[in-house]
Symmetry: C2
Subunit: 351 residues, 2 copies
């Protein structure tokens, strides 16, 4: 068997572009550092894109949808058919991510990784369908290792489409009733954490529901044992969309496209992906801190400081979509502000 794509090393960021971008920030008509995190954001994008003038205009969004066997155990406030209904809603333009993609002028593709219920024919959804949902992780593996490999490769194909379209930024989104349970189980294993720390209300469970969910995840972890190999963890506890997200983030970065990471689900995939390929971490920007409590643990493990903290907890890639404008502002300021010498402004040394 040939080497899997996620075993190939990622490109290096350009230290030359990073240093030149930082020097330029010091020449722009503002006190040094006064644009705060927008300065380093522009410099990091320059290093990732190997460009003097970084950009985030062309954004590719791939939303991966799949069902989760554990949904049968009452771990979500919404019934499983909502996964298929929301996929149709993405496609017809009524969902949050659809609205945000239009507002940004971003490409949005929806990929059916394993939705249990049938979709209408005319949705324009890309099919990478593997099964009608994962196995119930409280009792059985989520998927076979072959399926995990297929899901990662489906993510890589999304990254290839992003590159083909000339994307400057990749955003992955998720849809799947029950997927906060899969993400929490995966996170608990990879972080060697307690289910209670990583489980939250998801779409709106009450405290009894959260306790039931933690109990189910505890069962899943007991069944899986202590094997924290990232690939086997994805297969055993993940979701089809979570594995695809991990593959898409690695595949995007392999093609030189930086990634803007969404909330709890996507960050769980990012952690698995970073465990598969530690050289992925410098390619990731973190968009927001989700209200889902486990997200903080994932962010800390990834040494990530998200850009926004708006109490969002929707998924779909929506938090990342809202943060795109910050990257665009950072690039516009970096590329278009005048320097002290261009504008004839004293640079502060004379006081």
């Amino acid at each position: 068997m040939s080497e899997a794509f996620w075993q190939h090393p990622l490109p290096q960021l350009s230290d030359d572009h990073l240093q030149r971008a930082r020097a330029r920030q010091g020449e722009l008509t503002k006190p040094p550092g006064s644009l705060g995190r927008l300065e380093e954001l522009a410099c990091t994008l320059a290093a990732q894109q190997h460009r003097a003038q970084p950009g985030a205009d062309r954004v590719h969004m791939s939303v991966f949808a799949a069902d989760h066997g554990i949904a049968a155990d009452g771990v979500s406030a919404f019934p499983q058919e909502v996964t298929a209904q929301m996929v149709a809603n993405f496609a017809s333009g009524g969902a949050a991510i659809s609205v945000l993609a239009r507002t940004l002028g971003a490409e949005l593709e929806v990929i059916n990784m394993g939705v249990a219920h049938s979709l209408p024919d005319d949705t324009g959804v890309t099919s990478e369908w593997l099964a009608p949902g994962t196995g119930n992780i409280a009792h059985e593996p989520a998927m076979t290792e072959h399926q995990a490999s297929q899901a990662l490769q489906a993510g890589d194909r999304a990254a290839a489409r992003a590159a083909e379209a000339g994307a400057e930024l990749f955003i992955g989104g998720d849809m799947g009733i029950g997927n906060t349970s899969s993400a929490a189980a995966l996170a608990a294993l990879l972080l060697k954490g307690h289910p209670e720390d990583l489980v939250g209300p998801g779409t709106g469970l009450d405290s009894t529901g959260v306790a039931r969910k933690a109990d189910k995840i505890g069962q899943a972890l007991q069944r899986h044992g202590n094997d924290d190999d990232a690939f086997r963890a994805l297969a055993s506890l993940g979701g089809f969309e979570i594995a695809a997200l991990a593959g898409a983030m690695i595949g995007s970065s392999q093609r030189g496209i930086p990634v803007l990471v969404d909330g709890f689900i996507v960050t769980s995939a990012a952690l698995a992906a970073v465990r598969l390929r530690p050289d992925l971490r410098p390619w990731l920007h973190f968009s927001h801190e989700s209200e889902e409590p486990g997200h903080q643990h994932l962010l800390r493990a990834l040494d990530a400081r998200p850009l926004l903290d708006l109490g969002m907890r929707l998924g779909e890639g929506s938090g990342a979509a809202v943060a795109v404008s910050l990257l665009r502002s950072a690039c516009a300021l970096h590329n278009r502000m005048a320097t002290f010498s261009e504008a004839g402004v004293s640079d502060g040394e004379s006081s």
Copy 2:
């Protein structure tokens, strides 16, 4: 003498529109509350604008520039001529706020309230010039009460232009070497705080400079006494641009235009304006938390929770400009997402 414009009560927010907007948020295809602060942001804008579909597309930005007598005492990392140089840079499009305004498609006007150095003729800057900078507040009042009234009225005229242009949102910006000293003095008086808590590095003072600045502000406060009447405080310790900003925020709200407040300088003006007219507070959105340490005290006093925390400390209205996209996202989601019934999605009661 007739009643000053800032003594006229402000319009009420529409409770009817607020309630209808909240009801709509509960019908959109997402778990209730999952868009976090973007939900309440859209609802508040609906209440402010008395519209079912709130908007932040048409943004009016007024940047008020003026010099400060206290700059002579070495309280800034930049020399005083930078105020005039930066006004020219705003007008020629090279400053941060110029770039951000273009990116947003926002109207940007620059108003000379009292710049000490002369400006080139062809800058397109609106003149409301009162004097070549304020008096040095360590030794004398910043301005006469007549000048303070004129500055407030100049702000009101900017608000009138915003209304004339059909603005849905008003942003005020500031430029003035030395103005963090004036803002800190004003804030210390209005909050009965210590200068040390409200003084920071501004554009980049070292610790010796910060200590000197705090000492000068202490002198200013001693001279002014304990009279915390907001109008007299503006005259005694403020700046021409700070008084104009206070007038512009009141004037905008009187015309039904909500205000997105920038950082330390604009928030000091907002505090003075709220003291002049307590019914202004519901019209204010707070865009970001500045790196300037005194900003936190001002935000707390105004019970304000800013949208962004990016370590910015530039002024000019730049933090507010960066936050506009969050208001636009909130409005787009509110206005354009499908409802559960429109999209045929189960609303979660059936789980």
